[in-house]
Amino acid sequence: MTTDASVAPHLDAPPPKSPSVYEVPPRSLRSRAGSVLRHALLILAAFVMLYPLLWMVASSLRPDSDIFNSYGLFVNTFDTTHYPDGWNALAMPFGSYLLNSAIVVLGAIVGNLVSCSMAAYAFARLEFPYKRTAFAIMLLTIMLPVHVVIVPQYILFANMDLINTFVPMILPKLLATDAFFIFLMVQFIRGIPRELDEAARIDGAGHARIFLRIILPLMVPALATTTIFTFIWTWNDFFTQLIFLTDPDLYTVPVALRSFIDAQENSSFGALFAMSIVSLVPIFLVFLFGQRYLIQGIATTGGK
């Protein structure tokens, strides 16, 4: 994993302290030994945590006969056939499930970006009747379990003949139902100086213009955080996709993997592992390149 101290600069900046604190006394041998011990334990903990994932990668490259008598990570006999086998094990090549997931994810991202930023602008910058009540309701919906609405939503979408389409996964995002992101963006917009709005207003700009030309460009970090979290949550989401997608041609990755378990039980774990890994690669890439926004995103949620 390639990462360094430049990641998440805001959080890594040392906390403000008085000048005297910088005069660190020379470190004693004892504290140095303590530091080595601390690193050793942390590295051990990190290794233990990642071990199952690494083992899955190693197992996907072993012949099936080796998987359940190898606890190590060293692969004796490389066997890459699990990947093509797994790719073609279901009715459709696995690529089409990846594509279906990508469509759902893309729709969800666009939906969240557009609808949540609009709502956030209203909550952060506009005065309107019952604003506080509306804001409180918005906050409460963050904590509402999806299970309370899933049955009627199913009936609603079934009546509109939209089961086995991607609409039930995407439409709610276009309607700003992921209130968590509204909240995230409201927090961000509140940090943008109002003087910028005022200056634009004096120049004759309306709210649409202020939103598009001033606020949106300045809230790119919040939009990035939203994009990344929406990607990961939608990519991983199993519950709604399991309910709304029953046609194998439309399976997304989580639902396809689930049907893979049924199909492959007791035959090839290697192929199942291989496709599991394929399904995790996009998340891993997003994590690798977007971790600054991920970590800032959850830190600001909790920290403010």
Partner: protein, 311 residues
């Protein structure tokens, strides 16, 4: 969001206080809020009311809903699997959440204060919390704790012949609790951000007065971090109640062995989307909402006695 939690506690329910409203703002708000309002009505509030109504019917998707009064509640009282699933869920929520938060807090404290490689450690510890709810990791877990899985291969090194952890009713739930603890990275990052807000001078002053590390942790870190512990606890409990994927994958959707991984949400899914008892499933959904709301309310109430806000 921590400050919103505090506001919720101090003045429950937003007052409908009106700010200065000019017509231009009002019209713009109508446009900007339109998607959210439609979503609130059509996707959230409408379905909530509908599911409340369905709770008192025998709706099954095929025939019209008949109003059956309190029959679903009666049925709940006689439903052994419901009791089992509630027990399983409670154990899962109230064992895994505190352990997860304790691990998250412990590592955050160790990682805090200028440890070299902080960013790298933080990333590695954070990664599992992104993967933990995926089907792929649940598949992995099933294999790690299977009878000939990775875990038992390790135990075999020490001559221990481990059971099938996932296939044994007495241990299956523990493996899911472990999976949940494994995803401690997200609360850990929130703790780390919170620890950064604590002025270093407090610790120095305490050290000068002769306070040990342990006393500093108890007297400085814990009180000043308590709003964030509370925040993580509330959200952690709400989230854990809704866990679904892990139990579904590990038990092939059945909640076995012997219903030992029958999470409440899984039981709800079986009733609503396998048996199409949608009326009963709606009643179960409302029961879940009431349970979550009750525990959240208790949490807020108890927080008066341990959460410390300094300003």
């Amino acid at each position: 969001m921590v400050s919103e939690f505090r506001a919720l506690r101090k003045a429950p329910g937003g007052s409908g206080q009106k700010g200065r409203v000019n017509s231009r703002d009002g019209r713009a708000a109508a446009v900007f809020l339109a998607p959210w309002v439609v979503g609130l009505v059509v996707i959230t509030a409408g379905p909530m009311l509908m599911s409340l109504y369905l709770s008192f019917t025998d709706y099954n998707l095929l025939s019209n809903a008949n109003f059956t009064g309190l029959e679903n509640i009666q049925r709940m009282l006689d439903d052994d699997r419901l009791v089992k699933s509630l027990t399983v869920t409670m154990v899962y929520v109230f064992v895994s959440t505190p352990i997860q938060l304790a691990v998250a807090l412990g590592l955050a404290v160790v990682l805090d204060r200028g440890l070299r490689g902080l960013a790298l450690y933080r990333s590695i510890f954070y990664l599992p919390s992104l993967l933990g709810s995926s089907v792929a990791v649940a598949i992995l877990w099933k294999r790690v704790f299977g009878v000939d899985g990775l875990f038992n291969q390790f135990l075999a090194l020490f001559g221990i012949d481990g059971p099938g952890w996932i296939s044994s009713p007495s241990t299956a739930l523990s493996t899911l609790i472990l999976l949940h603890v494994w995803t401690f990275g997200a609360p850990m990052v929130i703790f780390l951000a919170g620890l950064r807000q604590i002025p270093r001078e407090f610790y120095e002053a305490a050290a000068v007065d002769g306070a040990s590390k342990r006393q500093q942790f108890r007297r400085i870190t814990l009180p000043l971090l308590s709003p964030i512990i509370f925040f993580n606890l509330v959200l952690g409990i709400i989230g854990a109640f809704q866990s679904f994927t892990q139990a579904f994958i590990v038990s092939d959707g059945r909640g076995g062995p012997s219903d030992s991984t029958l999470f409440f949400t899984l039981y709800l899914y079986q009733q609503g989307f396998q048996n199409f008892n949608m009326g009963y499933a709606s009643a179960l959904a409302w029961l879940l909402l009431i349970i979550i709301a009750a525990f959240t309310a208790i949490n807020f109430w108890v927080s008066k006695y341990w959460v410390f806000y300094d300003n």
